[in-house]
């Protein structure tokens, strides 16, 4: 499924309506302006027509005469774009600007305003033409008057208006979209904060989502917090129960083991074996019960190196009679519950310590979206057959693997909860090499 973005969706809608509105407005303004300019031109034509009509007379010799020249000097300039013409029968009077051509009769297009039309004049000029037929006093013959103005100016006016119009609308549009974008950013910023808060929780920086949230987001935050708390409580409860069970079962086991020592040797040995078997089962199942696993509320990004340092410090004390040189390289971040990590590494390091002659190597690395934890020692190592058996899921904890078997089984159980992989190999240091791999923490 394609992932949707609220911000993108809002921006898309805002873009559609603002572009639509601006285009409509632009079209409307352009039309109104064009009509206004046309009207102004036609009015000018009317004025010129009127003045020419008023100045026309029949002379006594039957010749048509313009008694007063129009004021506009363009009528005198050849092909200036302002023309007039009056004709009756075979007679034609023209403005000097026309030289000796006629205003054409062919109509290119009608203009809706005031009965003007457009014709192609001399020098391919596009002319706005207005004509009138009238009768002058003293004769029955009709006189046809035509006045024409070049439309170039008119078109230029329209064009420059159009440029200015769309430029301003474009600026306005960009401004509106910018404002919309800012509004979306500001409006949706609580969601960004929420995401950051959740990430902070994931990284283990916070136990819950704190702070004040807008009323639209607060219920979601409350619900997340409640869920986290329930989750943590469930894990705490399960850990408490595991601890109670450990106490309830293991103290009687200790008593049983101690009591067995007063029995004759074979019986005592039998009881001790069973007690050991029970202890291993209980330890393993309690370890699993304690594990929070990948769904745990305490899931975070746990730096591995401090955990190793802490365990090495404790192990140095626990194995004070067996000093070991521990070399730690690199670092990695574990995506999960810290206690689970401590449990796994504690078991592995303790095993290594028990078998090592004098050195343990811990290598932490993060690559290809995986973290790798390698723990190796310079001890005697593990026979291949035992190795193969020890990594089988639900392997029986044989006497053969005793000492390492239980710890490895616990590590395998816990790591499986995180989709981790455990494998064993021969270390270049001589002893056992344990490789633990997990999906890396997203930071």
């Amino acid at each position: 499924m394609k992932r949707t973005s609220i911000a993108r969706r809002l921006l898309l809608i805002a873009t559609l309506w603002s572009v639509g509105t601006l285009c409509t407005t632009g079209w409307l303004l352009e039309t109104l302006f064009a009509r206004h300019v046309d009207r102004t031109y036609v009015a000018e034509l009317d004025r010129e027509l009127n003045s020419i009509a008023a100045a026309l007379e029949w002379r006594n010799d039957g010749q048509l005469e313009l008694t007063r020249q129009p004021a506009d000097p363009r009528f005198d300039l050849p092909y200036s774009g302002a023309y007039w013409q009056a004709s009756s029968g075979a007679q034609t009077l023209r403005s000097r600007s026309l030289w000796d051509v006629d205003i054409p009769v062919a109509i290119e297009r009608r203009v809706p305003e005031g009965g003007a039309d457009i014709r192609i004049g001399p020098k391919a000029q596009s002319l706005l033409v207005k004509t009138r037929r009238l009768q002058l006093a003293g004769a029955d013959a009709f006189v046809d008057i035509a006045v024409a103005l070049d439309r170039t100016e008119l078109r230029q006016a329209k064009r420059s208006f159009r440029h200015l119009l769309w430029l301003s609308l474009g600026v306005l549009g960009v401004g509106i979209l910018g404002a919309v974008w800012a509004q979306i950013r500001f409006g949706l910023s609580p969601l960004g904060r929420l995401r950051a808060a959740v990430a902070g929780f994931h990284a283990g920086r916070a136990a819950a989502l704190s702070g004040a949230w807008p009323v639209e987001v607060q219920p979601l935050v409350d619900e997340i917090n409640a869920l986290l708390q329930r989750n943590q409580e469930a894990i705490d409860r399960s850990r408490r129960q595991a601890a109670d069970l450990a106490h309830a079962v293991k103290t009687p086991l200790a008593i049983l083991a101690n009591s067995a020592q007063s029995l004759p040797a074979p019986a005592a040995h039998g009881v001790m074996q069973q007690v050991d078997a029970m202890r291993r089962q209980v330890d393993r199942h309690l370890a699993r019960a304690r594990a929070a696993g990948a769904g745990g509320a305490g899931r975070g990004s746990v730096p591995v190196r401090p955990v190793v340092d802490e365990l090495v410090r404790a192990l140095k004390r626990l194995h004070a009679a067996h000093p070991i040189d521990v070399r730690i390289d690199g670092d990695a971040y574990f995506a999960g519950d810290r206690q689970d990590l401590v449990e796994m590494l504690g078991n592995l390091l303790d095993n290594a310590w028990q078998w090592a002659r004098g050195a343990i190597g811990v290598t932490l690395a993060e690559r290809d979206g995986q973290i790798e934890i390698r723990i190796e020692d310079d001890g005697p190592g593990m026979p291949a057959a035992v190795m193969a058996q020890a990594v089988q899921p639900f392997a029986r904890l044989d006497e053969a693997a005793q000492g390492s078997g239980l710890g490895l089984a616990i590590v395998r159980d816990v790591s499986a909860l995180y989709g981790g992989a455990l494998d064993l190999a021969q270390s270049p240091m001589g002893g056992l090499m344990v490789n633990l791999r997990f999906p890396a923490a997203s930071r």
Binding site: K250, T251, A254, A257, R313, V342
Partner: protein, 226 residues
């Protein structure tokens, strides 16, 4: 050597007390945290075996209280809690060792011996002073390779002196470390034990420092007259 056993489960406490006494330790028992904290603060124990889940005051708090007060008695935590987080927590609170239940008695005894040895600054499991050898694990004592038989109290005195060779040990200190709290003490008996020890060992390794106490050291060094 005197041990404080802190365990609230009566049967287990009883069994452990018996095993520890058989191993030659003077044992005091506390069944709850408050009593343990008090005893540990009042008496000079050589080792404490400490359970964590205790009534009234939990074991970790008891341990932290001692450490804050500057009491560095060796402490072995004996608990059902086997998680590594708890182990680290215990060690960080100042424990010297950590053993989880169930356990083998020999394991516990071996660890107690190691703790006592470590706190006395010794590394070898067998103690020696000139021709005198003492193996705390087995309780065997020999002089020039010939085994000699000691009573429980003679052994306790020798064991303490061997662990603290070269130091002057007062009679009071010896009394405090070989008798349990509820024992009817008489410091004159110490002189009796030392006298018998000198006779049985047959070599001059226990020196009397007049007015102060006893000092054990190899006979190669010139010893003051008793």
């Amino acid at each position: 050597m005197r041990i404080l056993l802190v365990e609230d489960e009566a049967t287990l406490a009883q069994q452990l007390a018996v095993a520890l006494r058989q191993a030659g330790y003077a044992v005091d028992h506390a069944a709850d945290g408050v009593e343990a904290a008090h005893l540990g603060a009042e008496h000079p124990y050589d080792t404490v075996v400490l359970d964590l889940g205790l009534p009234r005051l939990d074991g970790l708090s008891v341990l932290k209280r001692w450490r804050q007060a500057g009491n560095d008695v060796p402490v072995l935590i004996l608990t059902a809690r086997d998680g590594w987080v708890e182990k680290v927590e215990g060690i960080d609170a100042g424990a010297d060792d950590y053993l989880t239940k169930p356990f083998r008695t020999e394991e516990l005894l071996a660890r107690i011996r190691a703790l006592i040895r470590r706190s006395a600054g010794r590394t070898s499991p067998t103690l020696s002073c000139g021709p005198v050898l003492l193996a705390p694990g087995t309780g065997q004592v020999s002089v020039h390779g010939a085994p000699i038989t000691l009573t429980a109290h003679e052994f306790k005195v020798l064991d303490y002196l061997m662990h603290h060779q070269g130091a002057i040990i007062s009679k009071t200190t010896l009394t405090e470390h070989i008798y349990a709290q509820d024992f009817d003490r008489d410091s004159n008996t110490i002189e009796v034990f030392v006298g018998r020890l000198r006779r049985k060992l047959g070599v001059d390794v226990i020196e009397t420092v007049r007015g102060l106490g006893y000092r054990m050291r190899p006979p190669a060094e010139p010893a003051a007259p008793a």
